[in-house]
Amino acid sequence: MSILVTPQTRLLVQGITGAFGARHAQLSIDYGTQVVAGVTPGKGGQVFEHAGVKVPIFDTVAEAVRETRATASAVFVPPPFAADAILEGVDARLDLVVAITEGIPVNDMIKVKRAMQGSATRLIGPNCPGIVTPGDGKDSHGGCRIGIAPGYIHKRGHIGVVSRSGTLTYEAVFQLTSRGVGQSTCVGIGGDPVNGTSHLDVIQLFMADPDTHGIIMIGEIGGSAEEEAAEWIKAHGTKPVAGFIAGATAPPGRRMGHAGAIVSGGKGTAQAKFDAFRAAGIGVAATPSEMADTLLKMM
């Protein structure tokens, strides 16, 4: 088991003919992920071919879903069109939409989030590395890779990883794999101030997943999502959780790369998040180099 996606998940890629989307569709195919459809408006009927795999391209997500029974989507559409692309996936009743796109206007995401209220579709991202459920093959081949994460650093196993940052997720995964410890699923929820899935959402899924035995939660400055997750873990947590918060040295009022990584009005500080972690019994890694070791000591 795993959360959100399995090696059998049928993936469609929105924006498959763009340079970025194409490159990562290829890498997902190489990883053994079931890439079953592509969507690029106006290019319906064409075929995306890679390593002997022929992926049909459709004009609309609805058509792609009807023809290929895809249940999940990776959105690689440029920022001005990304909100529309996400809502198209919601309209087509996908189980999961993973928005990789960085730079979507906040107001667009406020509207998307409101429009998704009551819908059964889960949105991950935007501005995120995506999801990986590692496979059983060499270098975790045969898993489900949605997004831009390097598949080969993973290893099939029992640790869940959730993070707002891409490379910091890879860092944690790499630390685990180097110590011979595998992952159930790794989820990058994204660095924007408005996102589809929160730390708490993913933590709840990991706690309910019998195949996940421990969790690494990585946060950063800005907002209060980490505090909310910590509060829930304090009351309902059943598995060891360790984590790290990036940005203790960031100057207040400055956006640190991610649109959501900002301490404003004294809110969203690393200190407040570390305090919430400690109060909830979450293991705090003294440095980002010790994320895996901190968790493994608790298990």
């Binding site: 409101r114 910091l168 860092e171 004294g266």
Partner: protein, 401 residues
């Protein structure tokens, strides 16, 4: 992106919000003309406000000794005298740092007779992804302190983005502020307009402090925005070319402007260890780990997920133009990007810049063996770190040595 007060007031005015009459002035002559117009139209008091992207202007001091970046003037001559002391001069406030900012524009505006001051802001509530209108009867003071000490004095009204703000919501806020009659009606209009400005301009924050009840020449009460601050969502600027035109490069750090030309995300800090990292989260963590081992980061620098050789080279030049830098820490987790491309970029940049400072490189990920070989065979003195912690210890030691 941030804009000046006078620009914020222009945007507010375009959205139907009342602001005191006034004009931006870039020269003393313009200030004289603006002042003459104000006094001729019946105003008896003008205010001369330095336009810089930093708070605390009123209590600031100019480097040549002139006190106050915001001054009240009773005559045209007084406006001219103040303009002469402010324009082209460097204003130091609690927010500018000791180097201060050069005042290039003044706002010369009517000083209204203020009866009462309030606070009004619109921002995103990240906890529920909805726009939030925040108001308080405690205007003209530090709102963070009010929120901390007397949270009951903060009025909050959330807007459903599906339908937008409804007039009753503005009435609720105006009523909670204790306004009546003309002032109530006037405040409702201002609140609706401020929200509209926030939404339509894709602002991240619109803050009116103070929002003031004033007495009009006709003896009635009206509400207007005496000070205004607007921050904009950088991601949405592509659909607002007019607002993008308000960008003032003089208010930004030259190194940060240079970095943005190469799509590098650079923020200058005060420490001595420069960092070059891929990914925002890893870049922040790199700063944190430097401090953990007793050093101080000189900057935040995210070269992005697909950094090219040119970007690495540009990044080196930018971090080396900071005179405080005593050592460099390159921390790359190349998941997809080829570590050898990065290594080649580093070697070229070191040769090009004739780097003399200690350089610690931690390289991990795709094709890392080739990358490490490139560094080792370059003949350059590059200290290699196996993990982030190992590299951080080494770079801190190099600075201490």
């Amino acid at each position: 992106m941030n804009i000046h007060e006078y620009q914020a007031k222009q945007l507010l005015k375009q959205h139907g919000v009342a602001v005191p009459s006034g004009e931006p002035c870039k020269t003393v002559a313009e200030a004289r003309t603006a002042a003459e117009k104000l006094f001729a139209s019946g105003h008896t008091l003008a205010v001369v406000k330095s336009q810089i992207h930093a708070g605390g202007r009123g209590k600031g001091t100019f480097k040549h000794g002139f006190k106050g970046g915001v001054k009240l003037a009773k005559s045209v001559d007084e406006v001219v005298d103040f303009a002469d002391n402010m324009l082209g001069k460097t204003l130091v406030t609690v927010q500018t740092g000791p180097e201060g900012r050069v005042v290039q524009t003044l706002l010369v505006a009517a000083a209204e007779k203020i009866l009462k001051e309030f606070y009004l802001a619109v921002l995103l509530d990240r906890a529920n992804s909805r726009p939030l209108i925040m108001a308080s009867t405690e205007g003209g003071v530090d709102i963070e302190e009010v929120a901390h000490k007397t949270p009951e004095k903060i009025i909050k009204e959330w807007v459903d983005p599906a339908v937008g703000i409804q007039p009753y919501q503005a009435r609720k806020v105006a009523s909670a502020l204790g306004l009546k009659g003309d002032a109530f009606n006037s405040a409702v209009k201002v609140i609706l307009g401020v929200y509209k400005t926030w939404w339509e301009c894709d602002a991240s924050m619109v803050e009116i402090n103070p929002l003031a009840v004033v007495e009009t020449p006709a003896g009635k009460q009206a509400v207007l925005c005496v000070d205004a601050k607007i921050g904009l969502d950088d991601n949405a600027l592509y659909r607002h070319p007019d607002i993008l035109g308000m960008r003032d490069l003089a208010e930004e750090s030259p190194l940060e402007i240079e970095a943005s030309k190469f799509s590098l995300n650079y923020i200058k800090l005060d420490g001595s260890i420069a960092c070059l990292v891929n990914g925002a989260g890893l870049a922040m963590s790199t700063m944190d780990i430097i401090q953990h081992f007793g050093g101080m980061p000189a900057n935040f620098l995210d070269v992005g997920g697909g950094a090219s050789k040119d970007q690495v080279s540009a990044a080196f030049k930018i971090i080396l133009s900071d005179p405080n830098v005593k050592a460099i820490f390159v921390n790359i987790f190349g998941g997809i990007m080829d570590c050898n491309v990065i290594a080649t970029g580093i070697v070229e940049a070191v040769r090009e810049t004739g780097l003399k400072l200690p350089l610690v490189v931690r390289l991990e990920g795709n094709n890392v063996a080739a990358g490490k070989a490139t560094l080792a065979s370059s003949g350059l003195t590059i200290i290699s770190g196996d993990t982030m912690a190992d590299a951080a210890r080494k770079v801190v030691a190099a600075v201490a040595a």
